[in-house]
Symmetry: C2
Subunit: 215 residues, 2 copies
C-alpha cells in the first residue's frame, strides 16, 4: 500500500496552503471575499495565471450572496456546470441550478433558426423571473444574448453574472463587451475559462456563506 494522503479533508487543506504560498505577495491584491474564490479557481485548474485574469465588478460577490440567501434559480450554459455544482450547498440556501441546451424544444428551435442552442436556451432562461444568477462557462453566444436582453430591458437585471466562456472565437470579446453594462459580474479576461472554472467561482462564494452560517 502506498503512503499517499487518502483523507479528503487533508488533501484539500494542504492544496490551499500550497496555493497561498505560491501566490505570495499577490494575495494582497484581493479582498477577503475575493481571495477564497481566486484560490478555488487555481485549485480547479492548477493554473496561477487565473490570479491575473480574474476580475470582480460592481459588488458581484455581495450581490450574488444576497440572491442566494433569498433563494434563487441559477441558469448555467452547460449541463457540466449544473452537474459540477454541489446540490447540498445550493439546497441549504433553497437555490437550484438548471440548463436548457439539451431541452428538446431548444434543440429543435436552434436547428430551424441556424443559431446555437446556447442562444435559444438563454432566451428562455431570461424569461424566468426566479433566475437571478447566470453561469456561462462555454458559449460566448450565450453571454452576447444575455447582454442584448439586458440592454433592451427584456429581462430584470441579474444579481450576478459569472461570464467565463473559454475559447478562440468571440470568447474574449464577449467577456469584454459585457463589462459596459454595470452588472455585478465576475469574469476571466482573455481566452481562458470553462465549465470547471464557472463551478469553482460559484463554490468560492457558496462555501464562504456556508462557513458563515455554520452549516
Amino acid at each position: 500500500m502506498s503512503t499517499y494522503i487518502k483523507v479528503p479533508e487533508d488533501i484539500e487543506k494542504r492544496s490551499f496552503e500550497i496555493i497561498e504560498e505560491e501566490l505570495g505577495e499577490k494575495v494582497k491584491s484581493f479582498s477577503d471575499k475575493e481571495l477564497p474564490i481566486v484560490k478555488r479557481v487555481i485549485h480547479t485548474t492548477a493554473d496561477f495565471e487565473y490570479a491575473d485574469l480574474i476580475e470582480f465588478q460592481n459588488g458581484a460577490i455581495e450581490s450574488g450572496m444576497e440572491a442566494l440567501e433569498k433563494g434563487c434559480k441559477i441558469y448555467c450554459d452547460t449541463n457540466m456546470i449544473v452537474n459540477g455544482l454541489s446540490k447540498v450547498a445550493l439546497g441549504k440556501f433553497n437555490s437550484m441550478a438548471y440548463c436548457l441546451v439539451s431541452d428538446e424544444e431548444v434543440i429543435k428551435e436552434a436547428k430551424s433558426r441556424g443559431v446555437t442552442r446556447s442562444i435559444v436556451g438563454m432566451e428562455k432562461a431570461g424569461k424566468d423571473r426566479d433566475t437571478k444568477i447566470f453561469l456561462i462557462g462555454n458559449a460566448p453566444t450565450a453571454l452576447y444574448q444575455l447582454k442584448e436582453m439586458i440592454e433592451k430591458n427584456e429581462i430584470e437585471k441579474p444579481a450576478l453574472v459569472v461570464g467565463v466562456p473559454v475559447g478562440f472565437v468571440g470568447a474574449s470579446e464577449s467577456k469584454d463587451e459585457f463589462k459596459s453594462l454595470g452588472i455585478p459580474y465576475i469574469t476571466i479576461n482573455g481566452r481562458k475559462g470553462g465549465s470547471t472554472v464557472a463551478v469553482a467561482i460559484l463554490h468560492g462564494i457558496l462555501y464562504q456563506m456556508y462557513k458563515r452560517e455554520g452549516f
Copy 2:
C-alpha cells in the same frame, strides 16, 4: 443585433484553424492520430501549454479505439466527465460511461473507512469486467488505486487509461508513477488536467472514429 458568429459549426471550424496556426511547428511533433486530440484539449482550455504536457504511451489511441469499436464501459472518476461526454457518439459504438462516487453505498463505505469516495468507487469499477477504459480527471487517489489493482493482478489490464487528475497534492506524482505499468495511457504531465480535459481527450479519439465510419 451584434454581428458575432452564431453558427455552431463555423465557430468550431474557425477555432481549430486558429489553434493550428498558433501551434506552428509543434504540429509536427504529433502523429496524425495524436494531433486532433492535442487540438481538442487546447480548444477546451485555451491553454497551449497542454501541447508540451500531453503524453501518449503504449499505443493508447489505437487500443482505446479497438475497445470502443467492440463496445465497452468507461469508468469516470467524476460525474462531470460522464455528463460532458457525448452520449450520441458513445451510443454509436455501443459504449457507455459511468461514475460511482455519488453511489449511496460508496459514500457510506468511504466515510466509515476514512478514505476518498474515489478510492472506493474505483475498487468497485475495477471488478466490472466490461469496463475497459478509465477516465480520471480529478482524484490522484483514484489513479493510485487503479495502479495498485493492476499491479496486484486484481483486474484485467485496461484497454486505455486517461490519467489527468488536476491538483497540488499527489496529482503529478500519481500520473508519473502510473507510467511504469506499461498500460495504454494518455496523461498530462505536472499539475494540470481536470474533468474537461479528460472529456476532450476521449472526444478527440471518438470523433476520429466517427469521421472514419462516416456517421
